[in-house]
């Protein structure tokens, strides 16, 4: 196994419901596969008053996990623009107080006519230090397009900070849960982090996962559409 610079510094992975539920699926799988421990929660007065109970344990909708130098912040609720900003700001504060050196966000990128089983993944970075990681892992750069919603808010907040951020965009169906795209995101993340992650289990359960997560997908689509209505959908054509 090669020695990666990333394996020595504190890294934060972030996942939340977005296109194809790619971020939530992949980050959740990494958390459970690596056996990460929950170390905290993020609260917001405007979040819907929702707690989840699992096997008698009370869980908040935004949770923080840790194992060695790897941190995870995961949300089970999609964000409207106001909450997205507060969420991004609280991630930044958390990074500063925990000496996080880099952040990786996993998300989905809408494709209309993707061939089955062949999604691609792209990387968007805010700082030069992540360019090398894209190159080493043969991840093409996300070159042109528009970003809206929570992804855009996080990028905006972190661009102004000294903490570099990498957003991995896996091609996916935007309105249906896309475990195939999530598997690609998981394997790419594993490569970047230099950890071994077996995706056999998720592959076996792919069809059932799509049924299981219909409601979260539905809720996410409504939130994203609400955000998209307020955002421009085309790249300015000035230099074309």
């Amino acid at each position: 196994m090669k020695d990666s610079k990333l394996s020595k510094e504190n890294i934060l992975l972030v996942g939340f419901p977005s296109n194809g539920l790619v971020g939530t699926f992949s980050i959740s799988y990494i958390v459970h596969y690596l056996g990460m421990k929950q170390i905290g929660e993020i609260e917001h007065p405007d979040l819907p008053p929702t707690l989840f109970v699992e096997n008698g344990e009370i869980l908040a909708s935004i949770r923080i996990y840790k194992k060695d130098n790897l941190f995870v912040i995961i949300s089970d609720l999609p964000f409207d623009p106001y909450r997205a900003y507060d969420f991004s700001e609280s991630i930044l504060r958390y990074c500063k107080s925990n000496d996080i050196k880099k952040i990786i966000v996993v998300s989905g990128m809408e494709t209309i006519n993707r061939e089955p089983s062949t999604p691609k993944i792209y990387g968007l970075v805010t700082h030069q230090s992540f360019e090398e990681i894209l190159y080493e892992n043969q991840i093409p750069k996300f070159l042109t397009g528009s970003i809206f919603g929570t992804d855009a808010t996080i990028i905006t907040v972190f661009r102004k900070s000294k903490i570099p951020i990498l957003i991995l965009y896996a091609e996916c169906h935007p309105f249906f849960p896309d475990p195939e795209a999530s598997i690609l995101a998981i394997t790419t993340l594993a490569k970047i982090l230099n950890v071994k992650v077996d995706t056999t289990d998720i592959k076996k359960k792919m069809e059932r996962l799509r049924i299981q997560h219909r409601n979260l997908m539905d809720e996410t689509v409504r939130t994203l559409q609400n955000q998209q209505e307020k955002a421009p959908t085309r790249t300015p054509q000035i230099y074309r």
Partner: protein, 130 residues
């Protein structure tokens, strides 16, 4: 709430009650996710139908309503509020917009997704270009 004891499973937690809203528990039918998108010359209606074989899908079209029924290849069960519920079908009805060409609708099923292309009707008086 998604519940599992398998450590390697994906655990995304959802409110238990919400998924009861659209599913028809009495007739063991799940409501599939669907989306209708408008393109220049056609509408694209898609249904997410995992655990389904192509031969078990029935699509019916009447006036401007499309109905689908698809039998699952195995029973899907979910535990909600301590009750185990079993589902055997996907069922859904969608009302289409007006002005569609009913004779040229094309349906394709691939990778558990049903894609129905519905061309728009091009009609009306011709406008002369000077």
């Amino acid at each position: 709430m998604t519940k599992t004891n398998d450590k390697l499973d994906i655990k995304i937690i959802q409110p238990s009650i919400s998924s009861l809203l659209d599913d028809d528990i009495d007739s063991h039918a799940l409501s599939p996710l669907s989306c209708l998108r408008e393109f220049g010359t056609y509408w694209l209606l898609e249904f997410d139908l995992p655990l389904v074989n192509k031969k078990d899908i029935k699509v019916a079209f009447d006036e401007n309503i499309i109905s689908i029924e698809a039998k699952l290849k195995e029973i899907y069960s979910e535990e909600k509020l301590g009750i185990e519920m079993k589902f055997q079908y996907f069922k859904k009805t969608i009302t289409l917009p007006k002005g569609i060409n009913k004779t040229k609708i094309i349906a394709k099923f691939e990778n558990g997704r049903l894609r129905i292309m519905i061309p728009k009707q091009i009609s009306g008086e011709r406008i002369k270009i000077n």
